[in-house]
Assembly symmetry: C2
């Protein structure tokens, strides 16, 4: 048994490895401030769950209600199919198996599970030339690149809008009725419930049906069906959250830009900075049990998620003491 | 959008369709007694969940703890790999895609998602002859058939022990270190938390690694990691539950056998009876908002799960008034 076997992402670079941070820098897990992901630190309130959501097989009516809420929230084109999945990672991993392997264009840097999944399914990953598939992470992680619709064309077009709910005016959801197109939506990031495992695949009905058949029945948990439907029917919470995230994003920029960092991109859920000593800054903050995200492809890039309400003063103090 | 798209099992015969029962026979969903599945009606107590299980990306340490608990509980051979999955249905659906399609032997009647998944992946499903794969649901659903180890041999051997935790003395888990073998364990049934979505694939490290790579990272929810580990570290609850289920199984048999039914198989989680008027009995009970399971392949077979503590008197009264 290797580590890889139990966690296929273990060999790839990701945020969210707080347990590894604790092992290296000490402290109690609960005392760490995790800024290594782009997850909203003020989650949607879970409320009381009906016991039946834990006990019963997730039923068709609950799934139908969740899908209806998703259709209305984004809003999805009528001709697009909508499938709920237990976390978007699973969809990202399986989508390359929906069609014959060929060449896929994935602009880098970006979220690295897309390329890993296409390679595992036998595809050639490229950044240019004629391709059979194209992945657009929109806005891109980590640099916040916004794609134009015409840049996303391909026989199989994946538009990953995991971080688009902070800026719905940029959404390309209207392309979900384009043949061969799948728009991906993450629930865990904007609604701050990454442990719940919920995401959506919206687009070409034939592709969505193939993916649904691969997943089998009852793939989304009862709690995810319940909480997801409640959250997607609550546009006021989403509006308030967008305003708060934008405010906190600016506050974070102000903290960092005073310390020699240059903003190079991001969204309201994460910020990418250039810093002349990015790795040293990462290490310094880790000694204060604040976990940020450097990148293996750059000596100067560092990404910060947003702290929760109780994290700002510690972050400011740690930044103030940086060498 | 068709119903099938959102629930690929909708066209197949399953228990657990309480919403369909309510639509046809009326009543409030919460007032129905669902005996159409084999899910323990007295679930493992969930207790208080740490907020982090909902909020954080499921971390490697929590997954490692769950796997260690699973290894100890069943117990798994040291050379077998153990993978947690978000419900066993997902694994059942993807396993036929781990190797080249060929001929698979699946004795019928049995849980019908196995054959559906193999067919969807291009396999020929047969009941006899030389095969490349074999599925043994052990004990079988619905008739409780117990398989001998030598009956499960094949280049790809799937031993589905979804219902074996009521009778661990019959488990073939020791075969999980046989090359090409995968033993499947369901959490939702014995522990009564089908909505949680948790299962395990235990066996050939190469096959398990391929399946893990197909699923991608963070596939099991934070609540499932937490509750699953607690439950699998609690053998006393499992022992008490086995004793209670055996008692209730006998009580159910006594109720049914007095009314013209003949026991033809089952486990402590469900009982298969022959009844000369099975469909009429099913309809009569449905009018009393008790949902049982007839089968499309038989006019006389009917399956009952166990009622919870508050269901017995209503079941008895409804059976007493059967024509």
């Amino acid at each position: 048994m290797t580590t890889d076997l139990r966690d296929p992402s273990a060999s790839r670079d990701h945020g969210g490895r707080i347990d590894a941070a604790v092992a290296r820098y000490g402290g109690e897990r609960g005392d760490w401030i995790d800024l290594s992901t782009g997850i909203n630190p003020v989650p949607y309130p879970i409320g009381d769950l009906p016991c039946s959501s834990w006990i019963d097989l997730p039923d068709h009516a609950a799934n139908t209600a969740l899908i209806a809420a998703a259709r209305a929230f984004w809003p999805c084109p009528a001709r697009a199919a909508v499938l709920a999945v237990p976390g978007l990672s699973l969809a990202i991993s399986l989508i390359p198996r929906l069609t014959a392997a060929g060449r896929v264009s994935i602009a880098t840097p970006t979220y690295n599970e897309h390329a890993a999944a296409f390679r595992a399914a036998g595809w050639d990953v490229t950044q240019s030339g004629a391709v059979d598939a194209r992945v657009a992470v929109h806005p891109n992680n980590p640099d916040g690149r916004i794609w134009r619709a015409e840049e996303t064309c391909a026989p199989l077009s994946i538009i990953d809008e995991s971080f688009c709910d902070t800026a719905p005016e940029h959404s390309l959801i209207h392309l979900a009725d384009r043949p061969g197109t799948l728009v991906l939506k993450s629930f865990g990031k904007f609604w701050g419930l990454a442990g719940l495992r919920l995401g959506f695949v919206i687009g070409d009905p034939d592709l969505v049906a193939m993916l649904a058949a691969m997943l089998g029945p009852w793939v989304v948990s009862g709690p995810a069906l319940h909480i997801g439907a409640a959250a997607l029917r609550d546009p006021d919470w989403a509006d308030d959250t967008r305003a708060r995230l934008a405010h906190d994003r600016d506050r974070l920029d102000n903290l960092l830009l005073g310390g020699g960092a240059i903003l190079t991109g991001g969204t309201s859920l994460f910020r990418l900075y250039n810093h002349p000593h990015a790795q040293a800054l990462h290490d310094h903050l880790a000694q204060h049990h604040i976990w940020t995200r450097p990148f293996p492809w750059s000596d100067t890039a560092i990404r910060f998620g947003l702290p929760g309400p109780n994290g700002w003063s510690r972050l400011q103090a740690a930044l103030d003491s940086a060498p």
